[in-house]
Subunit: 413 residues, 2 copies
């Protein structure tokens, strides 16, 4: 026995390989347990879930280092800052709820924009830092930091605006939107606003620099297993061959079916991106989020293809997914200046979200005009509702009319 | 929001930098929850702990890839194989319990050595693989694989031998020995044997190639924070300076106080290693393990010092810790051929445990004859009982009689 614990990763701004990250160790913070014996089983069950959720999820957000990384993401920061400050009129005299406030930056901006009262809710001990920051910036008369999950807290009043930065990889990873929707249904006054108000998912086919490497790593693991099986038999008299298929499945899942973080450049795209779905956050339900069925149709583009400067067919090595969120105010009170935060592939900038890349193995040879049409189904992983399983079911139709169907499963972890 | 989850790390045999590892995502396996409402709060509380323990700890052991890494550690494998096979007489006709059997290799060897019955207990779904391996190797009439924690399972009989590979970094990380001792007290017949039977911890002062890098990284983070504070004030009107001390503490803990995995070479040692404590596993208690107080006295060695080929003082940049375990049988039935598994620094080989390095900053300038004398206290981290806090309280006495005291705290994570 010797393995490191499940640990949140220490992501760096300069970090660009989805496989490599620095170690950072979790210090799961247990929710206080008193010994009362009259609590019912349901409460206890809930606590069991919270324990694991703290160990798995919240613990990643209790480091200033991680907050700093997010605060250094200029696209993220500028979009939220513009959304609040350029629409300060919407905030003036209003009551705001910041769900998962982290360092408290959005709550502080809301107060600076003129909010009458801001409730900043944070589940991790980052709440202590947020309190100090709020006081140091002399906003403690407006901003109240509350430590706990938004599901477990009571507020003294309804709110006019809910602001939150809840987006995970491919928008929905982390399932933190659930908490925002819970807060919306419980605390947002009728006609109140959500910041952001809308979210859209995109998909595009790409060539990927990492594709060959992933396939090679996978092949190397299988070769290494062969050697391992021989060695175990020879040196220790135990035949491991019966586990070969299981090992292969494990490695395929890890190297080929697990979506990778990447900073994709626009030149890698082989077609115009396809908008998969737009969520209106004022009406979408948690139930709807649990399984999203998104039809898509993608045609390989002459113009994009030409960038690759090839005569013959090009390899479609992966699909790549990302999201936008929009700050439009509400239908009753639209934002004077609607703001968009996009995580699309761009040339000389990127967000810390990057894009999620789904490697296709074997890859598709394609030429301009080829069509990829089908459905993408996003559903929560049944073992961990904060992770996602992505099913793709599509046909590749060539210009000659050749049509092949494919079904693939990916994991966003 | 965007962070990867707490994830077990994909350690590689060729992996040598303690900061960098490959991502591997946890798939915490929830213990089945039925809806019975009459369970009492204590049971539920226990389950809460189990949930977090699965999320944090056990999930790391359910990958064949990790098992393969451990199975490829030749020092580990050869020691256990020799301990069983060269002392097969001790196993003949006996009942054996393998605690945390993983792939089942130790259970299989025990059966091959002639055991009458082997119970192989494994908490993760690796138990399924172990069952398949046992059947494939035609030992299902001897080896029974049981999925669950050893604390929660009932056996039909007492056992003659408990075999287990429970050792974590610096021996005690993971606190898996608790489970072995629990099994010993509940299931081992009086006079039964433990494989291994003894364990010893060692400490030695070293020069470290990584030391300067760690100090530089720490300094870089503090510089980066200064720039960050200025940027947040200028661009977004929020003063983060009040969090500077907290950020510095977080970074000091991570870069300078967290023990690092390293493959230390013998030439790095500045003194003979000091044996801190030897545990007799047949008698030690969980209570005793919770806090170990280990006196040490280390004298900088002329011979070791000479290896560094310097005229002036040398820097003691770190202390380095490791362990041995011994397979001696029991006092009633000593092993005919006692076997030792050591994780000490060696020139051309190493174990996957490596050594744990505790960086000393600022470092100590020392010359041969200098003495470092004090205590090392190993205690469980109060937030996660599988991690360790290590306190060092010692005096550095030079040959001129100059004496300085130091107290340092480290974390094994």
């Amino acid at each position: 026995m010797h393995l490191p614990f499940c640990t949140p990763h220490r992501r760096r701004l300069g970090w660009r390989t989805s496989d490599v990250s620095n170690r950072r160790v979790s210090r799961p913070r247990r929710i206080a347990m008193d010994g009362a014996s009259d609590r019912n089983a349901q409460e206890e069950e809930r606590k069991g879930v919270d324990e694991a959720d703290f160990a798995n999820y919240f613990c990643t957000y209790e480091f200033l280092y991680h907050q700093k990384e997010m605060l250094e993401d200029a696209a993220r920061m500028n979009a939220y800052h513009d959304a609040v400050m350029r629409n300060a009129k919407l905030f003036e005299g209003r009551v705001v709820l910041d769900v998962g406030c982290g360092s408290g930056i959005l709550a502080i901006w809301s107060a600076q924009a003129g909010a009458r009262r801001v409730y900043a809710v944070e589940a991790t001990r980052m709440a202590e830092h947020a309190k100090v920051l709020v006081e140091h910036n002399k906003l403690e008369n407006v901003v109240t930091v509350l430590e706990g999950t938004v599901e477990s807290l009571e507020l003294p009043e309804q709110v006019d605006i809910i602001i939150s930065e809840w987006m995970g990889y491919f928008l929905l990873r982390e399932s933190m939107l659930d908490s925002v929707l819970h807060a919306r249904d419980k605390w947002l006054r009728p006609g109140g606003m959500l910041f952001p108000s809308h979210a859209t998912l995109y998909l595009a086919p790409i060539v990927s620099e990492e594709h060959e490497q992933k396939v090679e790593q996978y092949d190397d693991e299988l070769d290494s297993w062969e050697y391992f099986v021989q060695r175990m038999q020879q040196a220790y008299g135990v035949d491991f061959r019966v586990l070969s298929d299981r090992f292969e499945n494990e490695q395929r899942k890890y190297f080929l079916q697990t979506a990778r973080w990447a900073d994709v450049k626009p030149g890698a795209l082989l077609a115009e991106p396809c908008a998969l779905v737009t969520l209106d956050l004022s009406t979408v339900t948690v139930e709807e989020l649990k399984t999203l069925n998104c039809p898509f149709e993608i045609q390989i583009s002459e113009e994009k293809f030409a960038l690759h400067d090839l005569d013959g067919p090009e390899e479609l090595q992966a699909f790549c997914g990302w999201f936008d969120v929009d700050f439009r105010g509400s239908s009753e009170e639209p934002a004077a200046i609607p703001i968009k935060l996009t995580t699309q592939p761009v040339e000389h900038a990127s967000t810390h979200w990057g894009q999620q890349v789904f490697h296709v193995h074997p890859s598709h040879l394609c030429v301009p005009g080829d069509i990829f049409k089908g459905h993408l189904r996003i559903q929560r992983n049944r073992h961990n509702q904060r992770l996602l399983d992505v099913w793709m079911d599509y046909a590749h139709t060539t210009q000659q009319g050749d049509r092949r169907s494919h079904v693939r499963c990916f994991y966003i972890e």
